[in-house]
């Protein structure tokens, strides 16, 4: 049962990584840039939701929607101001700019919301009444006669991840905009010749990625409730790793990479060593990349001579 418990928390953490990794992978696929500021968008989303819920006592769902709106706008604004002028610049220049944006967001958050850790409220609870008639806040569900305890956050995270994944797969394969996105990631020049507005499509990708980052931020902070301005950086790096793990640019790859990374991390923590769990995660990544140099589901591009 403990094994099952670890597996479920691994899948839950992996789902969060997967949602963040989606943002990385979509932006990489279309703009061929590593958006290092993505992790900090997660943090912004979490802060917006935190303030909406605990300061202005809005219902959690409104908080999440507000966070998504703010992050979507943030994503578009950052893309327009910082990345769009560098469309034809060398990729390293864009990378450094992304790092600059990341510093900017972290320090702006530090000034706006201070470095004091905020305790994120758990929105995934049910108010019930126990046998004696007292109101009880229930945050988890017992299965198999109490042997397995699964919190609502975990269930919600996994469910939301599946919904997002299905929605995105439908979006990229069936809708006009999704097809435009795929066309741009395949060949920007040809896409433009076919009448696709490449710039608008790239903005759209950033918007979707940032909106997803807001959801990931809320889920992350519901599961691990300490919120500080650097909350997003480590999950950001891990999710980036997950995206590469699954093959960067591939949406199912991001899901697979995220889930595997989460499961490996939790298992390493549980069975090997808490302190070395990060090292183990990265070691597995290295081994995978040596066997499959383009990630698990990545396309191996043959070089033409």
């Amino acid at each position: 049962m403990t094994f099952l418990n670890y597996l479920i928390s691994g899948i839950s953490l992996g789902s969060i990584y997967a949602i963040i990794a989606l943002g990385y992978t979509m932006v990489y696929g279309i703009a061929k840039m590593l958006n290092f500021a993505h992790g900090d968008v997660i943090m912004v989303g979490a802060y917006i939701c935190f303030y909406a819920v605990s300061r202005y006592s809005l219902p959690p769902l409104v908080g999440v929607i507000l966070a998504m709106l703010v992050c979507t706008v943030l994503g578009i604004v950052v893309e327009r101001l910082a990345y769009k002028p560098l469309r034809s610049a060398p990729s390293l220049a864009v990378l450094i700019t992304a790092i600059g944006v990341s510093y900017f967001l972290q320090n702006a958050a530090l000034l706006l919301w201070s470095s004091n850790p905020k305790v994120f409220p758990n929105a995934f609870v049910i108010n019930t009444i126990d046998e004696a008639g007292n109101p009880v806040v229930q945050s988890s569900i017992d299965l198999f006669g109490g042997q397995l305890k699964v919190s609502f956050v975990t269930i919600a995270t996994i469910a939301i991840c599946i919904v997002i994944m299905l929605a995105l797969l439908w979006f990229t394969s069936k809708t006009r905009l999704g097809k435009a996105m795929r066309a741009c990631s395949e060949d920007k020049g040809a896409a433009q010749l076919m009448g696709i507005n490449v710039n608008a499509t790239i903005s759209m990708t950033f918007a979707i990625g940032s909106g997803l980052a807001a959801i990931a931020g809320v889920l992350l902070c519901s599961a691990y409730p300490t919120l500080v301005p650097t909350t997003g950086s480590m999950p950001g790096i891990k999710a980036f790793t997950a995206a590469v793990f699954g093959g960067i640019g591939s949406i199912p790859g991001a899901l697979l990479g995220g889930l595997l990374l989460g499961i490996i991390e939790i298992f390493a923590k549980a069975y090997i060593s808490t302190q070395l769990s990060d090292a183990i995660v990265f070691a597995v990544l290295i081994v995978v990349l040596l066997v499959k140099p383009a990630g698990l589901l990545g396309k191996q591009i043959r070089e033409k001579v």
Partner: protein, 352 residues
């Protein structure tokens, strides 16, 4: 002197100008610090600046000359810092003369970092582009995790190592050198600005000689067109490894210099953010341009200090400056404007 400079070819001329500028900067700063005309905060930053300059130049060898993006350069700095300080502590009685001890421990640090670079290079250099970058990032994080959990002690019977928990079991007069997450405490501060300057000069000599040698041209050929380089019979792995290991060794000695400027050092100091910081120096200074790396490293290390008057806003300003500089240097209008200012420049660049 000017005549001699004119007879040299363009690359060599720039190399000599770089040496000259570094020496001038050293002399000026040395004079200023001995007359007490620079602030104590700047004085305290002289050694870190030297260490970052060496880091930037060595990373430029990987990113600019070899053309592979490395996101784990701080890992080699970490290896150098920890092995260097360990060497310095264990040689304390054997070599009482501090500068010599510093030099020996920097050599030890460079050797260990080179070894780490070699071992990491075997898998890393098989990959390409962003995959290579992510694996260097992964190695940087692994090195950080290991040093965060490594315990090294020294007593009469030699070194004792343990991982995860302190089971070194030292005798009474043994000392615990590396204490896991606590890092190394009570380091003797034997790094000096002069030592830093010498290290910068050695780094420049090594890098310039490598770049201007047959091997250096081979490395650049691989960067520009791997397939063409391979087809004329260049041993890709050998030359890539040569650049990567040299870069790692120099970073290692910079780490030792850096660590022995502080009384304590922890593994978390050399994390992903440090790697990124050095990468920022390299990109801002210009890929393959060593003088640019030196200036960027020195300027950006001082900048947060110089922005002190903005107090809380300084890192925000730093971020904005970084973004604006990247936007400005890559602005096509500005680029063509600058090219028009210097008529000869553009043609030369394209010819080179």
């Amino acid at each position: 002197m000017a005549n001699k400079l004119n007879t040299l070819n363009k690359t060599n001329r720039w190399n000599y100008i770089t040496y000259l500028l570094v020496i001038i900067a050293y002399v000026i700063l040395q004079v200023m610090s001995s007359t007490g005309s620079i602030s104590s905060s700047l004085k305290g930053m002289l050694v870190p600046i030297c260490a970052y300059v060496v880091m930037a130049v060595s990373l430029n060898l990987t990113v600019g000359v070899l053309g592979e993006l490395s996101l784990g350069h701080a890992g080699f700095m970490s290896v150098g810092a920890f092995t260097g300080v360990t060497a310095a502590v264990s040689l304390q009685n054997l070599i009482p003369f501090a500068p010599l001890r510093l030099a020996v421990s920097m050599v030890v640090a460079a050797l260990f970092a080179a070894l780490a670079g070699f071992l990491i290079g075997i898998p890393v250099l098989r990959l390409k582009g962003d995959y290579l970058a992510i694996v260097t990032l992964a190695f940087g994080e692994i090195i950080k995790s290991i040093f965060n959990n490594l315990y090294v002690g020294l007593d009469e019977s030699g070194f004792h190592f343990s991982l995860l928990s302190d089971t070194t079991d030292l005798s009474e007069n043994g000392t615990l050198i590396i204490g896991g997450p606590m890092g190394i405490g009570s380091i003797q501060k034997i790094s000096t600005f002069t030592a830093g300057f010498i290290l910068v000069m050695i780094t420049l000599v090594v890098v310039f000689h490598l770049v201007n040698s047959r091997a250096g041209r081979a490395i650049m050929a691989i960067r520009d067109n791997r397939i063409a380089a391979e087809s004329v019979g260049l041993n890709i792995t050998k030359y890539k490894m040569m650049a990567f290991v040299t870069s790692a060794a120099l970073a290692g000695s910079a780490g030792a210099l850096f660590a022995m400027n502080y009384s304590t050092i922890v593994a978390n100091k050399f994390d992903f953010n440090t790697s990124i910081l050095v990468l920022v120096f390299v990109v801002l200074g210009g890929l393959g341009n060593m003088l640019g790396s030196i200036i960027a490293a020195a300027a950006l290390t001082i900048l947060p200090e110089a922005l002190r008057e903005f107090s809380d806003y300084r890192m925000l300003v730093y971020a904005i400056v970084l973004i604006l500089v990247m936007l400005a240097t890559n602005n096509p209008t500005l680029k063509s404007f600058l090219a028009r200012l210097k008529p000869g420049k553009r043609g030369e660049k394209e010819a080179a």
